[in-house]
């Protein structure tokens, strides 16, 4: 090996180590944000390098396109992913997400990022088998880029302003697509004021996914009772804050429901009716314990009635139902941190 080659290898390793030393990494190696690489990403977004996407709490770092691109490069994104990363960042700045609190909380929450529409195929974002696992570059790196933006531009570093007691593995990347091709329902975003032809991103401050195994049911009632039972647990924030809740029906579970003529809204209504716990049980946990009057429950809940049933969300529409995954009789329930989802359309080819 020549001296020049050794020097070049040392320079690359030095730049990777510098990213670690500066605290820019999530702990895994990153691709150094070389100016030439960052420029390619900026060009792919068809936006100006200094265009401001927003300010990221809690440090309120200014998220320019160039800075987001630098984080996307580090995450291992391809240049064409940048519009999807920017769209997720814009959605996270929706006040309903409450990003300031999400970034600083002791809770495990981290933003879940879900894509719908043509962008899924354009970028090959996985919505099928193992869509929340390893093995797909778009899922792994887009979610990672969002996390790096939140850490580097928001200043929420573990042990610093990120006060998470545990965090969860989704803080490395937490991204999937809806499996629109195998879903019996219209795409999720079509129910959020957009059209099926739009590319869309949905973000949600979320716990890790919890699996719902039901291989026995062939009717929607018993199947969704299993889902509802998994949703309403004493320790999750929804029981005290009644925020949005994400449910991901596996394709086989979704078909059972649809084969009985049920639509997405029927699933929402049934889960809202069944995913409940009585006031007397909720007195032993949560943020306020016996002082149940301080919980953010729906106004109509009788707080002085120990047998009154408290739903996991204020209204059926607050239970957000996606369809994803591959073969297998499983679904997922994903409790929230205490705030809302945000869905927006974007041009996957870049620019506004």
């Amino acid at each position: 090996m020549s001296i020049a080659e050794v020097s070049r290898a040392d320079a690359v390793l030095d730049s990777i180590e510098r990213c670690h030393r500066e605290g820019w990494s999530d702990g895994l190696p990153v691709i150094p944000p070389l100016p030439e690489l960052v420029e390619r990403h900026v060009d792919a977004s068809r936006r100006g390098a200094q265009d401001v996407v927003g300010e990221i709490p809690p440090a309120w770092g200014v998220a320019t396109v160039e800075r987001i691109a630098a984080n996307a490069v580090m995450a291992g994104c391809l240049p064409e992913y940048l519009p999807a990363v920017i769209a997720a960042v814009e959605a996270l700045l929706d006040d309903r997400v409450g990003l300031h609190g999400v970034q600083c909380t002791t809770h495990v929450a981290t933003p879940l990022v879900v894509y719908n529409g043509p962008v899924r195929r354009l970028l090959d974002i996985n919505g099928g088998h193992n869509c929340l696992g390893q093995g797909h570059r778009a899922n792994a790196t887009i979610g990672r880029a969002v996390r790096l933006v939140l850490t580097n531009l928001g200043g929420a570093r573990p042990g610093g302003m990120d006060k998470a007691t545990f965090g969860h593995p989704g803080k490395f990347s937490y991204c999937f697509a809806e499996n629109e091709e195998e879903s019996p329902f219209p795409p999720y975003h079509a129910g959020e004021g957009l059209t099926a032809e739009d590319s869309a991103v949905t973000v949600f401050a979320a716990e890790a996914p919890h699996n719902v195994n039901n291989h026995g049911s062939s009717d929607p009632w018993s199947l969704l009772d299993t889902v509802a039972d998994s949703m309403a647990t004493l320790g999750n924030n929804n029981m005290y804050l009644a925020s949005d809740y994400v449910v991901v029906l596996g394709i086989e579970h979704a078909r059972i429901v649809a084969d009985h003529g049920w639509e997405r809204r029927h699933v929402q209504q049934y889960l809202h009716e069944r995913a409940r716990l009585p006031v007397r049980r909720l007195r032993i946990g949560g943020m306020y314990g016996e002082d149940v009057g301080r919980n953010f429950w729906a106004r109509w809940v009788r707080r002085d009635d120990p047998d009154a049933l408290v739903p996991v969300a204020r209204a059926p529409d607050d239970i957000k139902v996606f369809v994803a995954g591959g073969a297998g009789r499983h679904s997922l329930v994903i409790p929230g941190w205490g705030t809302r989802t945000s869905t927006r359309s974007f041009d996957p080819q870049g620019a506004r």
Binding site: S7, D10, A11, V12, D14, S15, R18, C19, E22, W24, P32, P33, L34, P35, V38, E55, P57, A59, W60, G61, V62, A63, E66, R67, A69, A70, N71, V73, M74, G98, H100, G101, V102, T105, T106, L148, V149, N152, L153, G155, M287, Y288, G289, D291, R294, W337, G338, T339
Partner: protein, 94 residues
């Protein structure tokens, strides 16, 4: 070895902008404001702190409670505290 140039993924200005308030040397006659984030026990902690500071001469002032603990204090919250207090203590309960 040539060092490679990197594009910074952080906003250095924002990272440097956060600093602690200057420490007061004297609390005599100081009107003390308290900002409760509304989590469990934040008010308990603040009242204990206020009692300790009163021994050093601080005067009881207003105690405000944020409506939603996960949100930053509102501009009105901060304006009210600024108008009625010489020093403010906040606490995060859990």
């Amino acid at each position: 070895m040539d060092r490679l140039t990197l594009v910074s993924p952080v906003d250095v200005r924002a990272a440097d902008a956060v600093s602690l308030a200057a420490r007061r040397n004297d609390l005599s006659g100081c009107r003390l404001g308290l900002l409760d984030n509304r989590k469990g026990n934040a008010n308990v902690l603040l009242e204990l702190v206020a009692a300790e500071l009163a021994k050093q001469g601080a005067a009881a002032g207003v105690m405000l409670e944020k409506r939603i603990f996960s949100r930053p204090a509102t501009a009105q919250n901060l304006a009210d505290l600024a108008a009625s207090s010489d020093a403010v203590v906040t606490a995060v309960g859990d």
